[in-house]
């Protein structure tokens, strides 16, 4: 069965779309600012290439109140991701059904057993964040620990590129292997680049 590989976080660049198609992706999430819509030529180019492109908004939130304010009246046809700046925000973001993914970052609160109890929405780890963490051992340790915990507990995980240019994109299986290597597993964690992110995209497309 052919998998639908998805990169949930890329910049809106036509060259990125072409490169995604060449690498075998069939869907992507395009990061746009608040109020920005997907440009029509871009949407047409994505349709011609056979890629399902969905708008993605990323909100940084430090408290429960901030998250709830941002979620109020959210459109159903976009991917809404929250980058939690506190433990409280992390727990709310992981639990609220209106959040599509929770952006993991090296300074994020630890995923302990209390957080695991409310963990429903996928945690999204970007290649860009992993690359940044190579410069600081403490950050790398946090990312590794996060991958190990989530995979051991079989919690939903997504790995995306966070690409701003074509050189930051990777093949889906390589991304899956990266996650497994960080967690100490032998086999590539394919769900993180296919089933889990594609479910998010399919929900947004179905909403249109």
């Amino acid at each position: 069965m052919t998998r639908d590989y998805t990169d949930l976080w890329v910049s809106p660049d036509p060259e990125i779309l072409k490169r995604l198609r060449a690498l075998g992706y069939s869907a992507c999430g395009l990061e746009l600012g608040y109020g920005e819509a997907l440009p029509q030529p871009f949407a047409r180019a994505a349709a011609e290439l056979g890629i399902s492109a969905v708008v993605k908004r990323i909100y940084r939130a430090g408290s429960r109140q901030e998250i709830l304010e941002k979620l109020r009246g959210r459109p159903g046809n976009i991917i809404l991701s929250v980058m939690p700046l506190s433990r409280e925000a992390l727990m709310v973001a992981l639990r609220d059904e209106r959040v599509d993914t929770v952006i993991a970052h090296p300074e994020m609160a630890e995923v302990d057993r209390n957080v695991l109890e409310v963990y429903q929405n996928p945690l999204e780890i970007s290649l860009a964040a992993v690359r940044e963490s190579l410069k600081d051992f403490r950050r790398l340790k946090n990312i590794v620990r996060l991958c190990q915990t989530c995979i051991a507990e079989e919690k939903p995980l997504v790995i995306s590129s966070g690409a701003r240019n074509i050189y930051e994109l990777r093949k889906p299986r390589q991304m899956a292997y990266l996650l497994s290597a960080l967690a100490g597993y032998d086999n590539p964690w394919d769900e993180a680049v296919s089933t889990t992110p594609y479910t998010v995209v399919r929900r947004c497309i179905g909403f249109v």
Binding site: V130, L134, N165, I166, Y167, K171, Q174, Y177, L178, A181
Partner: protein
């Protein structure tokens, strides 16, 4: 008394650099450098990671247990000889012939 030495299984990884005009030695230096950063010199020795000069192009070899780690290092390479680059894995096989 002689003891039988366990023969470790090798895996061969064919790479396609992007852009395509990057030199094999430069790519190898980038991969080896990042692998050593992640897993250290002992990991480098333990993995059996090496560059093969083949007609099939750029091929790396390692022991089968280290495949995820080598792939992770290849994936994290974002520049080669100061130029932005990405390394695509074309194929992984248990034989050199299999990566053609």
């Amino acid at each position: 008394m002689s003891e039988r030495v366990l023969r470790l299984r090798r895996r061969y990884i064919r790479l396609a650099p992007y852009p395509e005009d990057l030199g094999a030695e430069q790519v190898w230096e980038s991969v080896r450098g990042l692998f050593t950063t992640l897993y250290g010199l002992v990991g480098l020795a333990d993995s059996g990671l090496k560059l093969l000069k083949t007609r099939e192009g750029l091929v790396l070899a390692c022991y089968h247990r280290w495949v995820p780690e080598v792939v992770a290092a290849i994936t994290l390479v974002d520049n080669v000889a100061g130029r932005p680059a990405s390394l695509d894995i074309v194929k992984i096989s248990g034989s050199v012939r299999g990566v053609r």
